[in-house]
Symmetry: C2
Subunit: 150 residues, 2 copies
DNA sequence: CGAATATACTTGCATATGGAAGTATATCGG
DNA sequence: CCGATATACTTCCATATGCAAGTATATTCG
């Protein structure tokens, strides 16, 4: 197998692994916490942001989503009270998305669930070394991206 | 970092890497070949299937998608002539999706493009060993799934 | 200062997708 | 053989998403 094919194979497998994980983890997470995976990712970005708040445009970059997607994802989260809107006194164009107390609580709970499910996924077929190696290699992709989760 | 957190970190990074790759590779692929990534994945499954054909239900399992999604993805592909519909003489419920000559051609071209873009992604920041390691580890996920791409 | 440009966000439109219900066919158990 | 159940597919409805256009505000440059 040439280098080119190795890169290609890695990309294809990443796509497959992702669609599997989404199908495997998404529905249980939603049924337990009422949160989609993408909604959780949004809330997690807020949870680790300074002041628990981010501009929509920055959130979009962190989530690899469009601005309109962020605008509309924020609506139901506001309804349920997990985030609230805040304006910037120095720039009237900006509408921050701010994590509320309730939002912080649901993130913690949902992250616990996702952590458990992740552990379960690897249990019995992976060594600690392999898991760490996979995380490390994937980190080489994500390290350069905005919104890295430490 | 505990084992649990290592699994979780790997899963989170996989999500992030995937959304990045989709944003990075999808649009160029679509503009060059007029094919979305998911459409290409569907055609690739057909390209490697016996007789270049698959039942919709099997295609859905391979793509981690619902049956209705496959039904509707096939429609524009039929319009453009990349696939055609075929029935099973022994089971009238089945409607095969069959790759056409034109479909085979577009898969080859689009795969070439994706291969090049994948290579470009890793160039200059990854060693051959790292790429192979990443592909190998991801393969531990995907190996057990239906529709593994060899 | 003021016009041109850039930025942040929202909205309209088109596409993509899942789940549930509906239809047709096949298989199973008595 | 026949009713009950299972399977394959499609369609309906609701949600999710991107892009382009629209609105409001900021910044830049002459």
């Amino acid at each position: 197998m040439t280098d080119e094919n190795a890169s290609y194979a890695a990309v294809l497998r990443l796509f497959r692994a992702q669609s599997f994980l989404e199908a495997r983890l998404g529905p249980p997470l939603a049924s337990v916490h009422g949160l989609g995976l993408n909604e959780l990712m949004l809330l997690m970005q807020l949870a680790r942001a300074p002041l628990h708040r981010l501009r929509r445009v920055d959130l979009a970059a962190m989530l690899n989503a469009s601005q309109s997607t962020v605008t509309r994802m924020a609506l139901p989260l506001e309804k349920t009270g997990f985030v609230k809107r805040e304006s910037d006194p120095r720039d009237a164009r900006v509408a921050y998305v701010v994590l509320t107390k309730a939002g912080r609580a649901i993130v913690d709970q949902a992250e616990d669930t996702l952590r458990q499910m992740s552990t379960e996924l690897f249990r019995d077929r992976w060594t600690d070394k392999e898991i760490a190696a996979l995380g490390g290699l994937l980190g080489r992709f994500t390290a350069a991206l905005p919104g890295e989760i430490p």
